[in-house]
């Protein structure tokens, strides 16, 4: 409302996209204290954007990420959106226009799936991976480039009695290293913002800071909402006339 966020919500997509949309919307409406029929414009983005029945406009991911990152940090120069199965890096200029971008959606070793897989192998909830890794003061390399091989390597480390927090930090370092090489491909422009679900992991943010050699890295309070924020902003700017739908 008036280009200020008044409510947000998030839900795991799981196997039913429509249901996930409904649940996250409910949470946002509740936070904001508004009802569905008070929504005037809706924008959708992401790989399931067509599944969002109520959307007035569909926004491409790169633009949504850029606008979202810029909303949260108005000096954002590079927005790194780290999702479960892909990473998108967008570099923007002083006016927020997109200068360049790159995506990795082929390899799990550069996305959240890496963390999920190792969390499973370590029998540790994903939400604890961040806090645990921050306890580590030790740097261990992971030689494997692939999540499947890294999992075997981690099991080897477990057998060798390596401390769990050191293993987790090693995994975050490995992930950050992959993402950093993506960033360097298009050029690093400060301020660096991380969005996407993996942004919730402070250990990853920490590793990214080290890999990119930065004094500060910016992460919004609900990084998973970054792209949705961008879509909302673009929907509000859209000049399409829309009659509020009865949902």
């Amino acid at each position: 409302m008036n280009n200020q966020i008044i409510g947000s919500g998030a839900a795991a997509t799981g196997f039913n996209q429509q249901e996930a949309v409904a649940r996250s919307l409910e949470e946002a409406l509740c936070n904001a204290g508004v009802t569905r029929d008070q929504i005037t414009k809706t924008g959708s983005t992401g790989s399931g954007r067509k599944a969002v029945g109520m959307a007035d406009i569909m926004v491409n991911d790169i633009m949504a990420i850029a606008r979202g990152g810029r909303y949260y940090f108005n000096n954002a120069g590079t927005v790194i959106d780290i999702g479960a199965e892909d990473v998108k890096v967008v570099r923007i200029d002083n006016d927020g226009a997109i200068m360049d971008f790159t995506i990795n959606e082929k390899c799990a070793a550069g996305a959240g799936a890496f963390i999920e897989t190792i969390a499973r192998a370590l029998e540790t909830p994903v939400s604890e991976m961040g806090p645990l890794s921050l306890k580590s003061g030790k740097r261990i390399p992971i030689n494997a480039q692939c999540v499947v091989f890294a999992e075997s390597e981690v099991i080897g480390l477990i057998h060798a009695k390596t401390a769990r927090h050191n293993i987790i930090r090693a995994v975050h370092d490995a992930l950050a290293s992959r993402i950093a090489s993506l960033v360097f491909r298009i050029g690093l422009q400060e301020d660096i913002v991380i969005t996407g679900g993996v942004g919730k992991n402070q250990g990853v943010a920490d590793s990214m800071k080290r890999e990119l050699n930065l004094r500060k890295i910016y992460v919004p309070e609900r990084p998973e909402c970054g792209a949705a924020t961008g879509a909302a902003i673009m929907a509000s700017e859209s000049t399409l006339k829309t009659i509020p739908k009865a949902l």
């Binding site: 196997f15 199965e85 082929k106 390899c107 799990a108 799936a113 890496f114 897989t117 480039q145 692939c146 999540v147 499947v148 091989f149 075997s152 099991i155 080897g156 057998h159």
Partner: protein, 290 residues
């Protein structure tokens, strides 16, 4: 408790074999080749360049132990005292961890030589698909390496990639090939090359009502495509032969061959022993020189 109940779908039968037609005491040189891979290990005992015995076991987490283990398993069926071995060459992922080897030789060289042995001198292109890597080797008619390409960074198309699927679909890995053909119509391949993403895709397909067999077919086809794209990087020259464990997976092999466009060569030998056989032959060469 749950750990004990958990079925190991990746498990394949370890095997050992003794040649009934050879008397090792008649041989001038007894040589030993040990190939310690990331997933499996083999030992081949040669009596004057003829295979006398071999063994094939799971590597496990400790390389030095694995060499000793596969040797022990191989010697189990034979009565050769270990000190009768004239020379031993170690190779593979853990070649530096064959503590009793006289020297180590690269797996590329051993595989070329071994393929030349098990397939014959006509072999010119060897596709070796192991537990964690895929190699394409161009060799001459003496089994010497002319060129090669290796991918050891990505699980797609490797034995480990197949193990992940055996596990998620709860199908014993040795049954994957046969079951992947139990489909009405061949499906399109899974859209992801990455094993981790393909696994998520498979779970979704099962939820949508796909049968296990149909998912297996889609995955085997995707893996065949992946392997084919790697083969194309070096290019294939006929005689084309496959070594390594994946050669035993008809689900992948039968889909791969039409993509490559060549009839593969045939062997009666276990395709997994190529590296160790090559190592044993290279050991034999050294004996002849001395």
């Amino acid at each position: 408790m749950a750990e004990n109940d958990k079925k190991e779908y990746w498990r394949w039968t370890e095997s050992n074999w003794k040649n009934p037609d050879i008397r090792w005491k008649d041989a001038e040189y007894i040589t030993l080749g040990i190939d310690v891979g990331s997933v499996s290990s083999q030992a081949v005992i040669m009596a004057d360049s003829q295979i006398f015995a071999y063994g094939n076991t799971r590597t496990g987490s400790n390389s030095p132990d694995s060499a000793r283990k596969v040797l022990g398993y191989t010697l189990d069926k034979v009565d050769i005292p270990e000190d009768r071995v004239d020379r031993c060459v170690g190779t593979g992922y853990g070649r530096v961890n064959v503590p009793f080897a006289d020297n180590a030789v690269t797996e590329i060289a051993c595989h070329a030589r071994g393929a030349n042995f098990i397939y014959g001198p006509e072999v010119k292109t060897v596709l070796d698909i192991g537990g964690q890597d895929i190699k394409i080797i161009r060799c001459d008619n003496q089994g010497r390496v002319v060129d090669f390409y290796m991918n050891d960074k990505c699980a797609a198309g490797t034995g480990r990639g197949m193990e992940v699927f055996a596990d998620i679909l709860e199908v014993p890995i040795v049954e994957i090939g046969e079951r992947s053909f139990q489909v009405e119509e061949e499906p399109r391949p899974v859209s992801h090359t990455c094993v981790v993403y393909a696994r998520s895709e498979a779970v979704n397909l099962l939820r949508k009502g796909w049968s296990t067999e149909r998912v297996l077919a889609a995955y085997c086809r995707a893996m065949a495509e992946r392997i084919c794209s790697l083969v194309e990087r070096l290019g294939v020259i006929s005689g084309f032969a496959v070594t390594g464990g994946m050669a035993k997976n008809q689900g992948v092999m039968d889909r791969l061959m039409p993509m490559i466009g060549l009839e593969p060569m045939h062997t009666e030998w276990d395709t997994q022993i190529a590296g160790a056989a090559g190592a044993a032959l290279i050991a034999y060469d050294s004996c002849l020189i001395e």
